[in-house]
């Protein structure tokens, strides 16, 4: 506690130091939390991968050939040495020969050493849009013409799973955040209304949350989803899912927000603002809502993973992300549909599952770290 100089001529050192806000302190605390930092770092990486999916992915979202079959193409190792000369060369992959084996019923692939496809950087390929609007066709890497690099192997139609996983990340990583954001906005507004106005407003909002909590989530999800025919646009359907998730999620939040606000309202500093003549708006926006921020940050970080999981559950029921779009959940569901073959014959299709687990894990660690960082009891 480096105290600023006090009144009556103390000789305490004058120390000009950047003032530390709540967030500053929390950040300092957070920096001590190793696992949370790792979680945060990995998440940033995942988000970057998703944002630049178009660029990093060698293929578009749904590119495959109906002539050369690449269904469940195995991952292609990238070679950097010329097998003949043993010298370093430009990275390359082999072409693969495919054959449907009618005893094992699987497409079998064998590398064809004769076909060698060098990997080039910044190749032109499928068109995509950076951040959804700037059209581009440059890809970080790829083979010339048709892409032959399958970092994560191929999916059932022979699409590059690596590319699809990146694109799926765009949906999986946003769906949680978007749903959480919307349910937060709903929850905060309604919770605040309930807390502030009390009376019948409070009654209605609280009854509504009870109704929502009384109806099982899964049922609500499926039924609401069926309510909106999907024949609009798959992406629009996604927004609907997000909306539904948010609709289901706001109840609990509103309840806590209300509780928190009611307790903040009793804080002396709110009384102080009232005594200064602050009006309701000021009290709500300057004093009461900011007090929620730390609570919200923590809840949100912990709520996002549950939405990601919910989305994968929806995909399991076939009402999540719709082809050709994919989410990690829907990719994993595809793997699930393959049953045990996905474990034995083509384990690479499980990679999207790994991404889900990783993301949820990271969000949990991050949320944990944030909770600790914002916990006033951890501070002196």
């Amino acid at each position: 506690m480096r105290n600023p100089t006090a009144s009556a001529g103390t000789a305490a050192r004058r120390e000009v130091r950047k003032p530390q806000s709540q967030y500053g302190i929390a950040w300092r605390q957070f920096k001590k939390h190793r696992l949370a930092q790792i979680g945060g770092g990995v998440l940033i990486l995942l988000y970057l991968l998703a944002i630049f999916a178009g660029f990093i992915a060698p293929n578009g979202l749904s590119v495959y050939s109906t002539e050369t079959i690449t269904a469940f193409h195995p991952p292609t190792p990238i070679h950097v040495r010329d097998p003949d000369t043993g010298r370093w060369t430009r990275p390359f992959v082999y072409g693969y020969k495919e054959e449907l084996n009618l005893t094992t019923f699987q497409n079998e692939y064998k590398p064809d050493k004769a076909q060698r496809y060098p990997i080039y950087y910044f190749v032109k390929g499928d068109k995509y849009r950076i951040l959804g609007f700037i059209p581009a066709d440059l890809h970080l890497f790829g083979t010339k013409e048709q892409n032959k690099v399958f970092l994560f192997g191929g999916d059932k139609l022979g699409r590059d799973l690596f590319s699809r996983t990146l694109y799926a990340g765009q949906i999986s990583l946003t769906i949680g955040i978007a749903a959480v954001l919307i349910s937060t906005i709903l929850g905060v507004i309604l919770g605040a209304l309930a807390a502030y106005f009390g009376g019948w407003v409070d009654n209605i909002v609280m009854r509504a949350t009870e109704v929502l909590s009384a109806v099982p989530d899964l049922f609500l999800l499926i039924s609401l989803r069926a309510l909106f025919p999907i024949d609009i646009n798959p992406i629009f359907a996604l927004y609907i899912i997000i909306g539904i998730l948010a609709f289901i999620g706001w109840g609990g939040l509103a309840r806590t927000v209300r509780g928190q606000l009611l307790s903040v309202r009793e804080m002396d500093y709110v009384a102080a603002a009232t005594s200064l003549g602050a009006n309701d708006r000021r009290i709500i926006f300057r004093h009461m809502l900011p007090a929620l921020s730390t609570y919200l940050i923590v809840t949100l970080s912990l709520a996002i993973p549950s939405y990601i999981l919910t989305e994968s559950g929806l995909s399991f029921l076939g009402i999540g992300a719709v082809e050709p779009y994919a989410s990690w959940g829907s990719l994993l569901t595809a793997a699930q549909e393959g049953g045990f073959s996905s474990f034995t014959d083509r384990p690479w299709v499980l990679i999207p599952g790994f991404f889900i687990v990783l993301t949820v894990l990271c969000f949990q660690l991050l949320g944990d770290g944030l909770r600790d960082a914002f916990d006033p009891r951890k501070r002196q």
């Binding site: 105290n3 006090a6 001529g9 103390t10 000789a11 305490a12 001590k32």
Partner: protein, 341 residues
């Protein structure tokens, strides 16, 4: 204090308890030495953060570890069996035998120091069954007896009540009953009345005095209320910044303090009977405040911890931590200028 008299119950010697926190090492107790005789009441005063509670918890070996640790020093304690042991060296099991039996403790917060989900009788009886090998029935009867002893009306009924059904004063009585249930040789009272109203405080202090006379235990009384000290203590230890700055007989401390902090403290407290101080010209009197702030335990000054706030400070004060000097009559002071005061 090296010589330990035969009637010494507790002798704390060079006790250092540090907390290893993320921000650095908090030297909460940094070389505390004092002793407590049988049947005596020793008051420990000092402001918030000066290490009073940590000292008492160190004696109970209840310092949360991590982050806390007794790094150095001895705590010699003569148990009921008459043997003297160094508490810092006891095993956890041995220590548990001492806790609640030889030494017991009451805390500042009567509202939170009792477990809300058990009846007060249960909580008192727990210590009795543990240390005196009584069965539950006997223990509950004894618990009721203890409640009667501490002046709770209708004790038979009250044993079966829960803490939330009692007022603060009554809970503190329950705490005292619990502490005394095994006739401890030493009662540590860590600010037992700070949270209470004056009228209730008066009741509790009265009770403690009465019980001490009856049971004959020693009391280590921790407080920052000098009024309470004056009323309760035989001798006083004044702490500041984790160290003992002055120790002596209660009258001497109040009448002839030998440390500027003690002096400042005495001057800064308003007193009900002190109307005299008020000037007669109609202007209100002023309190003589100690300037400055309580030091930051993370970065104590290199010399005398009180130096930055001391009006008697000289350059030497900042050079080294002054030694605890004997000023006569068993009175000690940690000030290089005590002679001049």
């Amino acid at each position: 204090m090296t010589t330990v008299a035969t009637d010494t119950l507790l002798a704390v010697n060079g006790l250092k308890t540090y907390f290893y926190t993320d921000d650095g090492v908090v030297k909460s107790v940094d070389g505390v030495t004092f002793h407590l005789n049988k049947g005596e009441t020793l008051a420990v005063v000092g402001e918030s953060g000066s290490g009073k509670s940590v000292t008492s918890l160190s004696i109970m070996r209840l310092i949360a570890s991590p982050p806390g640790k007794i790094v150095e020093g001895e705590i010699n304690f003569t148990g009921k069996d008459g043997k003297m042991r160094d508490i810092t060296k006891l095993s956890e099991a041995e220590m548990r035998r001492i806790r609640g039996n030889d030494i017991s403790m009451i805390f500042q917060e009567p509202m939170t120091s009792l477990n809300p989900v058990y009846t007060v009788g249960d909580q008192i009886a727990e210590a009795i069954t543990l240390h005196q090998g009584k069965n539950r029935k006997e223990a509950m009867d004894m618990a009721a007896g203890m409640l009667e002893l501490v002046g709770i009306p209708a004790p038979k009924k009250r044993v079966n009540e829960f803490p939330h059904q009692m007022s603060g004063g009554m809970r503190q009585r329950v705490m005292i009953a619990m502490a005394l249930s095994c006739n401890p040789a030493l009662l540590i009272a860590d600010e037992p009345t700070t949270a209470l109203d004056v009228t209730i405080q008066a009741q509790i202090l009265d009770l403690m005095r009465k019980l001490q006379e009856e049971i004959g235990m020693s009391i280590l009384f921790i407080t920052h209320n000098l009024g309470v000290v004056a009323e309760m203590a035989d001798r006083v230890v004044v702490m500041y910044g984790g160290r003992v700055v002055e120790e002596g007989d209660v009258v001497e401390i109040f009448k002839a303090p030998k440390h500027p902090y003690t002096m400042g403290l005495l001057n800064s407290i308003p007193r009900v009977d002190h109307a005299v101080l008020k000037s007669t010209d109609g202007k209100k009197g002023r309190l003589e405040a100690i300037p400055g702030n309580v030091p930051n335990p993370l970065s104590l000054p290199p010399g005398c911890a009180f130096a930055p706030r001391c009006k008697f400070m000289i350059d030497d004060c900042n050079k080294a931590v002054p030694a605890l000097e004997d000023t006569g009559n068993g009175h000690t002071s940690r000030c290089i200028r005590w002679r001049e005061l």
